[in-house]
Symmetry: C2
Subunit: 393 residues, 2 copies
């Protein structure tokens, strides 16, 4: 059976070049970067080289990169750390309603600590209006956090405009770039953002590695206290192999971005063109044009997502219905709800996340196997039955 992996938003394989750079730091060069003796030298140098590479992906000064265990830690550190550090100045935080759970729920935790959170609504494409951000700003606002792009529906946000609002109002602006970095050009100085989250496992680096860039001068309270690694902003022995891997992955993402993006966009556009032609009552979710190169997200009407995923899996195709973080929870997506997609349609959500190894044949295969699966599921669906009886088409 053909195997077609189209769930790169959930996980990417580690590239061989990345693995190659990681392995020595588990074996011969296993030392602790903090060690004064020579066993610490290579790990420390490799860690700093990785920092330069990761910083390079977003045009940041390397010394402003805080290495973390992943995107979720980076987002939690940004949202909680910046807010807590500013708690004497104010207790109001602005986020969007379509943030990843690691921002959304971090903000809810802030509420338990006496903060107030404004969750900015989006339009039907999941796009935030920068004016809404400006309108939400109060005297006591200490942080704005809006993602660069949404992984579930692909929509790219107007973060340059939001950054202008934040600069004008002098409020730190964090952006979760986990789904976007490596797939759209990001330069922190061109955007004018103050903090930005990255994850290794979105760009063919290992799991367990991530980074938060924080502009010099922005105060942040650590989540991890301890031995003052990472300038005291993130203590704990550094995951040297993982971060070295992330560094290599970031370098490759920078070097190959154009080629990767062009390839991914072609596959994405092909699927977006062909799937609605092959399946009635399917709609693209997210923004029609302004979307991540790897993201093709749909809502299939009169159907439940889980059945599609399982039957697709039986044909060798891996997709998800949204964020992997919530796959096993299978609750209605807060992102689709925010786009005002009715729950009965949102439950049929289907996310294809392309990777650099996918091909046109993969798209062809999906377009071949998916329609009969949907047809079969619809035969069993009371919703569809009702729709047909009422003369719908």
């Amino acid at each position: 059976m053909r195997k077609v992996y189209l769930d790169h938003y959930a996980a990417t394989p580690v590239l061989p070049e990345v693995m190659g750079e990681m392995l020595p730091f588990m074996e011969s060069d296993f030392g602790n970067p903090s060690s004064i003796h020579s066993w610490g030298d290579k790990p420390r140098e490799a860690l700093e080289a990785a920092r330069i590479r990761v910083a390079g992906l977003i045009g940041a000064p390397p010394e402003e990169i805080i290495f973390t265990s992943g995107g979720t830690e980076a987002n939690n550190l940004a949202v909680k750390g910046i807010s807590w550090a500013a708690r004497k100045k104010g207790n109001h935080v602005i986020i969007s309603s379509v943030e990843h759970f690691s921002v959304l729920h971090a903000a809810s935790t802030l509420e338990k600590f006496g903060f107030e959170v404004t969750r900015i609504e989006v339009d039907k494409h999941g796009t935030i209006n920068p004016d809404s951000v400006a309108d939400a700003v109060r005297d006591n606002t200490v942080l704005i956090s809006v993602m660069t792009a949404n992984g579930e529906i692909g929509t790219i946000q107007p973060i340059n405009e939001i950054a202008r609002v934040s600069a004008e109002k002098k409020i730190p602006f964090h952006t979760d770039a986990v789904a976007a970095a490596g797939y759209i050009p990001i330069n922190i100085n061109e955007i004018g953002v103050d903090a930005l989250s990255l994850a290794s496992d979105m760009i063919y680096g290992p799991k367990g590695a991530g980074a938060l860039w924080v502009r010099r001068g922005i105060r942040i309270m650590p989540l991890f206290d301890g031995g003052t690694q990472e300038g005291g902003r993130r203590s704990g022995t550094e995951n040297v192999p993982g971060l070295v891997g992330m560094g290599k992955a970031a370098e490759l993402a920078s070097l190959n971005m154009k080629e990767r993006v062009s390839r991914l966009e072609n596959l994405r556009d092909l699927l977006i063109e062909r799937l609605p032609a092959a399946i009635p009552h399917i709609r693209l979710t997210g923004h029609p044009d302004n979307r991540l190169p790897w993201n093709a997200s749909f809502a299939v009407e009169f159907i439940e997502g889980e059945g599609m995923l399982l039957l697709l899996d039986n044909t060798g195709v891996a997709v998800s219905s949204g964020s992997a973080c919530t796959s096993r929870a299978l609750k209605g997506s807060h992102v689709l709800t925010a786009c005002e997609i009715p729950p009965e349609i949102a439950q049929g959500s289907l996310l294809f996340s392309f990777g650099i190894d996918n091909s046109v044949e993969d798209v062809n295969y999906v377009v071949e196997v998916l329609p009969p699966i949907i047809e079969r599921l619809r035969q069993m669906s009371p919703l569809y039955d009702k729709f047909v009886k009422e003369g719908g088409k």
Copy 2:
């Protein structure tokens, strides 16, 4: 030149068997454990198998293990998470004065959030008196955190007795077992502890992996909010290869504990016997008998630690002057200060942390190369000069 690595408290190499189990989860089985499709199956099963192995090291139910990015995260999660979750019940926390910085500084952060912290003093061997813990308990105490054993000076704490105090007073008891687990038998039910921290890189597993065991019924506020992995107590895509590696390392640590301990104790005792015979004015720090099998810690009088480390490094020997987390800071050790070792002696601290690959020849080599180094440094030391002039010996 002979290479003698005696800094296993700073870092251990990853065992080949551990590496062997990790690699597939970066390459072919790279999927996300949360994925519903079959790419998620092997990673999820491997993660749960790792959880069973890690739990086995401490006799815990696997479902009570929270995987983390390392010991520092585990300690921060325990200290902050348990205290924050109980903040409506009380705001007082008890720790010891010789805790690792990840506990000590996490407690200081709690003070910024309105908590009060009692830091229990230790005796000259670094041992805590359980009665002092009992005396420190107040009506508003919500957590006691005392380490199983101190990595810097090797002293094993009377945690069974402290657990009895905590049980009697009905206060959750966390113990940082990072330096101890795998080297002394630990069974959470025999101890009667409520939460326990572990780190992969102390037991020949990879960096970037750790665990916090928390007894069912103990409430804990997450440090990372997000996709509700790890039962909602630690969100974020799991570092599958790292945690699989930790699982294998924990299994090997359990299986080989007796043999490892006997080997380590022999080397430790040999060095503890021979070094003072070869070097005048050197004293063992920590408890003379009740100490970790791998730990031989000394204070060399009339000398600064950094010089010893650098000259030892030149002869191929890696040691540290205490916790790796503070190696590059080179401040006086809070642990030695707590043992009432005067600063001018504490500055000459030297920590030999043995590993399973060390040999008697390694000890011989240290006993050969260290005395002339110390002699040379003492010639340059104004302290020693003064001591000799005053007729000392």
